[in-house]
């Protein structure tokens, strides 16, 4: 089965690379730093047991000393920043993104504020969802964030529905569904791709193939080596890109966005990437394969992009260091903001009208 490339299907779509200017490139690097800095903080602050056995304590009595802790489920994506930033940099502000359980980077790349993100992960009232969502559920109607999702693959029909909405209303928006190699074996993936192709919906399916579904290696879960080849079954273009190369991701997604806005329908883009940390536990759980990791660490997407920007004369070493420090300071400020923020009280919960607690 051969991968179909965009240009093969639609020769009129420009085939030259979509290349961002210097300013945009530096902004992309800044976003990658911001995500990395945020994720490193999440890893540090994560403590699975921190909020347990607190159920009988009123919200305002939670110990301030532990209030900067992130508990429960928090999945970090260190190593995957190029897919997050490369994709979202190709979108407009009002485009939609439906994300995964590993979605901090998707939200930040789409413009989310680190302070409100961190507060949400800490369960604080000032978070994006007032503490009702948590790490896996960052929503923002202003940013077009349709939430992360704790159910693998559930976001794929949701993004497809957002694209349906845009087309139905004659808007020019597109929607992106982020998902993983693991989700490409869920029924929702196949059902959604079929409908999107049938109805030429403006949706881009971005598979971040990081080679593992939690701890299950892709080769023992996928019947074919490349997720992109699954696009052929639905008559849509499927393209493989180097997921560690932010410009390659940007280029592929940009072309898919142009095609989607022009009424050409959906695209499946498979980014070959790698997660540098364990599946769960804020990245603290054991890594799947330390030997393999050592090889992939040589292809850190941030280091690769730094090198390219300097080689191309877009950035000096001083500028780079200043940007990096700025991002890490921003993440520290987000932690301080989260710690200082109050916990929500039960009466702050947006209980659905007509639905009583009893």
């Amino acid at each position: 089965m051969g991968t179909i490339h965009l240009g093969d299907l639609l020769p009129n779509i420009r085939r030259e690379k979509a290349m961002p200017d210097r300013e945009k490139r530096l902004e992309m690097l800044r976003l990658m730093y911001r995500i990395r800095a945020f994720e490193e903080q999440v890893k540090t602050l994560y403590d699975y047991h921190s909020f347990q056995r607190k159920g009988d304590i009123a919200a305002d009595e939670y110990d301030v000393e532990v209030s900067g802790v992130i508990a429960g489920a928090a999945h970090v994506a260190i190593g995957q920043e190029a897919t997050e930033v490369g994709t979202c940099a190709a979108l407009e502000a009002d485009d939609y993104v439906a994300s995964t359980h590993r979605g901090h980077g998707h939200a930040i790349a789409k413009g989310a504020d680190l302070k409100r993100m961190m507060a949400e992960l800490m369960g604080k009232k000032t978070g994006y969802c007032g503490g009702c969502g948590g790490s896996m559920h960052i929503f923002s109607s202003e940013l077009g964030l349709l939430g992360g999702n704790g159910i693998i693959g559930a976001q794929i029909p949701i993004a497809t529905g957002a694209a349906f909405s845009a087309k139905y209303q004659g808007a020019k928006q597109v929607a992106v569904a982020f998902f993983s190699d693991g989700a490409s074996s869920q029924g929702t993936f196949h059902e959604a791709l079929n409908m999107a192709a049938l109805w030429k919906l403006p949706v881009i399916y971005v598979c971040e193939n990081n080679l593992y579904a939690a701890t299950t290696p892709a080769p023992i879960a996928l019947s074919i080596p490349d997720v992109a080849d699954r696009a052929a079954a639905y008559g849509m273009p499927g393209e493989i890109v180097d997921g560690q190369d932010v410009l390659a991701v940007y280029d592929a997604v940009s072309r898919a966005v142009v095609r989607a806005r022009a009424g050409g329908g959906p695209t499946l883009i498979e980014c070959k990437t790698y997660r540098f940390v364990g599946h769960a536990g804020g990245g603290k759980s054991p890594h799947n394969n330390p030997e393999e990791l050592a090889v992939w660490l040589k292809r850190d997407p941030i280091a690769l992009f730094e090198k390219k920007l300097m080689a191309d004369g877009h950035m000096t070493a001083d500028e780079q260091e200043a940007m990096r420090q700025e991002a890490f300071a921003e993440a520290e400020a987000a932690v301080a903001f989260g710690k200082q923020s109050p916990f929500p009280r039960p009466e702050d919960m947006p209980v659905t009208a007509g639905v009583a607690l009893s």
Binding site: Y96, C129, F139, P157, I158, G161, S165, Q169, H190, S358
Partner: protein
């Protein structure tokens, strides 16, 4: 108010057509709702732009409807048989029901999941269930089960206009039932029960098609036992006050529905009445549900699994004489 006589299906169709004409964002999506079958006579008027005939992908199109509802539309997703919700429980339970809360109240999911349900049509174990209790047990969902043509219309309009997800369950045997339906703007608010018949001796709360069986039983008992019949119309939210007012008078409660009694909506109604009106009860409350078994095909077996008029009569007599 001008009334017109029509079937349950015609009333439902009228509600959908009026709401789709009133609001561009309302559309229907589901299997086999195209030009050939036209279950609600929508295609000729609205064609494919508003009537989306899907592949057999309940999970996919229900999830798509959730995404559409989150981004400005008001989908009415049609699940052809209630039994098929098993393959799209995730978009209903984990997505539609939770987005409002998980987003901190910032994103609404105004959608209707409409599904024919119920037994008596001799369709076997996978085309006969009434699964309302699964949805009653899911916070964030509203559950609507109209029993008359007028309610079919008024509750569909209310469901479409509601800003949250509503599961609208219609018993298949109700489809040909005729009744008066108000013309034009006719909206029955969610969470309002209807007293179908006043009575002093026993309160029978009946759900969906069982309302008609309960009314028949009440008629059969007239002169012997004075039976009140209440149709809750929506199970979530539940108008327990109307039920309590009746139980205060009668002191006896029987809930009738087709779904098995074990873990059913009747158990929930009894719980609420017991907690709030225990002092009114002169007898232990009863639930008459379907037998606790998967549905068999053979007509006499199927009939034996469902609460029938005779069963209601006997149970009501038992409540009075015990």
């Amino acid at each position: 108010m001008t009334m017109r006589e029509m079937t349950y299906t015609e009333a439902l169709s009228q509600a959908l057509r009026e709401e789709m004409a009133r609001d561009e964002t309302v559309f229907t999506i589901g299997e086999d709702i195209g030009p050939v079958r036209q279950p609600e006579n929508l295609w000729d008027q609205f064609c494919e732009r508003r009537t989306w005939q899907t592949p057999i992908s309940e999970s996919g199109f229900t999830g798509l409807a959730v995404g559409a509802a989150m981004t400005g539309l008001r989908p009415v997703a049609v699940i052809m048989y209630c039994d098929f919700v098993t393959v799209c429980m995730d978009p209903i339970v984990n997505q539609a029901a939770k987005v409002h809360l998980m987003s901190g109240g910032t994103i609404k999911v105004p959608m209707v999941i409409r599904t024919p349900a119920g037994a008596g049509t001799r369709e076997g174990g996978q085309h006969s269930q009434s699964l309302e209790s699964w949805f009653v047990h899911t916070p964030g969902l509203k559950v609507v089960m109209p029993s008359t043509p007028a309610d079919a219309k008024g509750l569909m309009k209310a469901s479409i206009r509601d800003d949250g997800p509503v599961v609208y369950i219609q018993h298949r045997l109700l489809h040909p039932i005729r009744g008066p339906v108000p013309d034009g703007e006719w909206v029955v608010p969610l969470g309002s029960a209807d007293v179908k018949r006043e009575g002093q001796d026993v309160t029978v709360v009946a759900i969906s098609y069982a309302v008609h069986k309960a009314l028949e039983a009440a008629e059969a008992l007239a002169g012997e036992i004075d039976v009140a019949v209440i149709d809750p119309r929506t199970l979530a939210p539940l108008d327990v006050d109307t039920i309590l007012q009746s139980v205060e008078k009668t002191g006896r409660l029987l809930v009738v529905h087709e779904a098995p009694g074990q873990g059913g909506a009747g158990a929930e109604i009894v719980r609420q009445v017991t907690e709030k009106g225990f002092e009114y009860l002169r007898r232990p409350p009863r639930v008459l549900g379907g037998l606790n078994t998967p549905m068999p095909y053979s007509p006499p077996l199927e009939d034996a699994c469902l609460p029938q008029v005779g069963d209601i009569v006997r149970t009501v007599r038992g409540l009075v004489r015990e």
